[in-house]
């Protein structure tokens, strides 16, 4: 039986007269890698921010990990991880200090923090850099570190907002290895991306155009439906009709 960890129904966000997210309805299953695609300004980030409890919806329903986004936004936060397109660790703290800080914030015990940081540093082969400032690491390593920190507290769902921006292809591959590993451990991945090759890695995809979800299915099914050779084509066909662009 499928367990649904994100359920939205008619979720809408308006800024004044502008409807950023227009009546979207979808569900995400446990352990799934759910891709969230769309052109710039299509409303991806806004939708994601609502699900993370960073932004209050204007109307509609949404629950994340069974928790209502309206009434218990704070409670959601213990159950999710988040990594945004802006790099979000503290550059003026060391690798270990960042791990310790976020571990503490999510109320892990001291011994858990200790074993977790050893594990994490080992897995990312960051031993020589463990006491270096995060600001001095190459971008690709920073992203991997940020992802690992975001799932440090073993959340039910992790939200990734264009996590691989500005990273070379090799580092992206490594990043996706981490994602698969996390998904294998039962963590649901909710990811927005621009890269169509990455979209192929997802279990299911939703494509947003002008604030609405225009398509939602597995990559294979989408390609079949739109008679496209690859996701690029699918995306192009859908996004062509967009009225608003950045």
């Amino acid at each position: 039986m499928k367990e649904e960890v994100i359920i939205t129904e008619g979720l809408t966000k308006k800024f004044g007269n502008f409807t950023a997210v227009d009546n979207i309805t979808f569900t995400v299953n446990k352990g799934e890698i759910f891709g969230f695609l769309g052109a710039n300004g299509a409303g991806k980030t806004t939708a994601m921010r609502m699900l993370c409890g960073l932004s209050k919806p204007t109307s509609g329903k949404a629950t994340v990990a069974g928790i209502d986004v309206y009434s218990q936004a704070e409670k959601i936060k213990s159950n999710i991880g988040y990594m945004s397109q802006k790099f979000s660790l503290y550059e003026d703290l060391t690798v270990l200090e960042n791990i310790k800080f976020f571990g503490g914030i999510y109320k892990l015990s001291d011994s858990r923090i200790k074993t977790k940081s050893e594990e994490l540093v080992h897995r990312l082969s960051l031993e020589p850099q463990a006491n270096k400032l995060v600001g001095s690491l190459p971008q690709g390593w920073k992203q991997k570190l940020a992802f690992s920190v975001a799932i440090l507290h073993e959340p039910k769902i992790v939200f990734l907002d264009e996590p691989t921006g500005g990273v070379d292809p090799l580092a992206r591959r490594q990043f996706w290895d981490l994602i698969y590993e996390a998904a294998g451990n039962g963590i649901t991945i909710f990811i927005t991306t621009h890269y169509m090759d990455e979209a192929e890695y997802c279990n299911r995809l939703s494509i947003m155009v002008d604030g609405r979800i225009e398509a939602l299915d597995s990559p294979g099914a989408l390609k079949q439906k739109y008679e496209a050779a690859n996701m690029d084509e699918v995306f192009y066909r859908l996004a062509r009709g967009a009225k608003r662009a950045e």
Partner: protein, 372 residues
């Protein structure tokens, strides 16, 4: 509680790493405390007088030497034309002109009466007023002494003299430094406290790390406290350094109890930091936060009663002074450091500042939005 410890640890580490900032927030106040109090002397001395003597008589020369002999005036120039003396006023080299008319002595002897002209640069009203009244009084005294000469034979007509005996309590030498040093220190603590916490939060907003904090289950009050406490500690450090410097350099030792002084500073810093935090919750960029902070701090400083007396302000400005934390710290420093007032005397001050601290900080916590 444990979460707060993690937040604090992080903040302190970041501050410690930011050496350039630490140098400025510790070094600048020290430098300014060493220099600025020496500049804050507005005792009116050395009033510069230009004399235009058109008479060149015994009487006129006597009058001039009496005036210079009084010690209040410095002779900037003697015996140029009025026009030339006016040039001195224009270039701020003279503050007053005394013009003695031609035939001054003759008129005094024949008609018992003559006029002299006193022209005052009145842009600085206070200096003008005091200078003019000194000069008028010296002239009056000179009148009397002339009179005395004429009536020396007439016994019993000695002029009446009322002597003003001064007792200047708490500061008998009238040393402006003992007033200004604690005052400047108070302002420095205010500036440091007011800006740092505010800029810090907005900085996290600009860099984007605050977003990461907002998706964590951290409580708003903890986050604000995590920002407040480190800068509260820095404020205390700056204050303590300042206190030691005032003792070493200026020989100023608080007459009152140190603990009372510190207990006020502790509450005061909370209030000032609270204001900064509140402003930061309304701003998106460091630039905005800084200008708004600058606006308030400038008003607080200039209307705080250190540079100009609050008594001299119009009613509405006195109301501003009443909600101005700086006016309280200036007052309390003066009371404890110079007069040795006790805890009971400053209780109303502590009460009001505590109320402000509570109000500003809870407002800041309320207004800090993890969710938009």
């Amino acid at each position: 509680m444990r979460t707060l410890l993690f937040l604090l640890q992080k903040e302190f580490k970041q501050i410690y790493r930011y050496k350039a900032m630490v140098r400025i927030i510790i070094g600048m106040p020290i430098m300014q405390l060493l220099l600025l109090p020496l500049a804050a002397d507005y005792e009116i001395k050395n009033i510069n007088l230009a004399v235009v003597d058109n008479d060149h008589s015994t009487y006129s020369q006597q009058l001039v030497s009496t005036i210079i002999g009084s010690g209040y005036f410095r002779l900037a120039e003697y015996n140029q034309s009025y026009k030339k003396s006016l040039k001195l006023i224009e270039s701020d080299k003279a503050d007053l002109i005394l013009e003695i008319p031609e035939g001054f002595e003759r008129n005094l002897v024949r008609e018992n009466k003559d006029q002299v002209l006193v022209a005052v640069n009145a842009i600085n009203g206070t200096k003008a007023n005091i200078g003019a009244s000194y000069l008028n009084n010296i002239i009056k005294n000179y009148n009397q002494s002339l009179r005395m000469k004429l009536v020396t034979s007439n016994q019993g007509n000695q002029a009446i003299a009322i002597d003003l005996v001064n007792s200047n309590w708490y500061n008998p030498e009238m040393d402006y430094k003992s007033f200004m040093v604690p005052g400047i220190l108070a302002l420095l603590v205010t500036i440091i406290g007011g800006f740092l916490a505010a800029l810090n939060i907005v900085r996290e907003k600009e860099i984007g790390t605050i977003e990461q904090i907002n998706v964590t289950p951290v409580r708003k009050s903890y986050f604000i406290l995590g920002k407040l406490i480190p800068f509260w500690v820095i404020g205390n450090v700056v204050f303590t350094i300042g206190l030691v410097l005032s003792w070493l350099v200026y020989g100023i030792v608080p007459a009152g109890n140190l603990l009372v002084l510190y207990s006020f500073i502790w509450v005061y810093l909370l209030a000032v930091l609270g204001l900064g935090l509140l402003i930061s919750t309304y701003c998106e960029t460091q630039q905005q936060a800084m200008f708004i902070n600058f606006f308030f701090i400038m008003i607080f400083i200039l209307l705080g009663g250190l540079f100009t007396s609050i008594d001299s302000m119009p009613g509405w400005a006195k109301i501003i002074a009443r909600i101005n934390p700086v006016s309280y710290i200036i007052d309390v420093f003066r009371m404890i450091i110079l007069k040795g007032s006790g805890f009971k005397d400053i209780l109303p001050h502590i009460g009001i500042i505590s109320f402000m601290a509570l109000l500003l900080n809870s407002w800041a916590i309320k207004n800090y939005r993890k969710t938009s």
